[in-house]
Symmetry: C2
Subunit: 166 residues, 2 copies
């Protein structure tokens, strides 16, 4: 199994007319909560072989916080994590990457509802918007490496910061 962590960006400044949506940064509270989530992941001794991030500022800042906490040595922007991105593009990347093996641990930092929809597709083959993940929340799955992952993955974690950070 490959472990896949889908991490939603932290709390960002609200949409407004002064800034493009993709440039909205994390708020101070969003930065702090995200850092606490990162610390907890570190305490559990999780280390990602790679973090792929949506290029939007609020996602990229979230990914930077995870990297700065020591959770990965490898961070890359990944365009299919833009809002509305297609999971098949990620699957194609994974299947042809050095991370397609049974010991790898991958994190994706992105947006709702996409992360929940991707997870549902991996677990049940289609998405119904039934997975709730708050900002800086986490969904984590086991992905089989010897069969088609779509509808064959298992969910082992879904949490908001409220339940994850003491």
């Amino acid at each position: 199994m490959t472990q896949l962590y889908l991490i939603r960006h932290g709390i960002a400044v609200e949409r407004n007319n002064l800034i493009k949506d993709e440039d909205r940064p994390l708020t101070d509270i969003g930065t702090q909560k995200t850092a606490k989530v990162a610390e907890r992941l570190k305490a559990i001794k999780i280390k990602f072989d790679i973090i792929l991030s949506s290029p939007l500022i609020r996602a990229r800042q979230t990914a930077n916080i995870l990297q700065n906490a020591g959770l990965t040595d490898e961070l890359q922007d990944f365009n299919p994590l833009f809002p509305g991105g297609n999971i098949q593009l990620w699957l194609d990347w994974w299947l042809n990457s050095q991370y397609h093996h049974d010991q790898s641990i991958i994190a994706l930092v992105g947006h709702q509802p996409d992360l929940g929809n991707w997870a549902e597709t991996l677990i049940w083959g289609s998405s119904n918007s039934r997975l709730m993940v708050k900002k800086a929340g986490i969904i984590a799955l086991d992905l089989p490496t010897s069969t088609n992952p779509i509808s064959n993955c298992e969910l082992f974690l879904l949490t908001s910061p409220k339940f994850f950070v003491p």
Copy 2:
């Protein structure tokens, strides 16, 4: 929405020839880990209007730990939580109970694979054994009160003690 917490019993002594399966008690480690999960739920200020428990010893001991932590004033044995029990019996109970309203919080203490299967049925309408919940782990759902809950519930928490207890 009614909030439904499905809580798996803690670690019990292994099956052996000296004791009936239904009488197996929690181990010391199982008791300790379950108590820590209970403490965390308490710290998050969760209070269950009622806990329904499988009558098996390992489940009932788990439920007792939750009650002793102050998580509920009402604990009852509930036979459909026996291994292999039918979710429809629980739904019939809920729909006709005083707990079928938008502010209620209910906990069920039981067994795998039943708890995961019940959750999948509530979320997606059928079960595929895709939800992994370890001993003393938690699955939590929002249940609509104005429509058929089957395939209409939302998942907001799935965690093992490892991710929940710091």
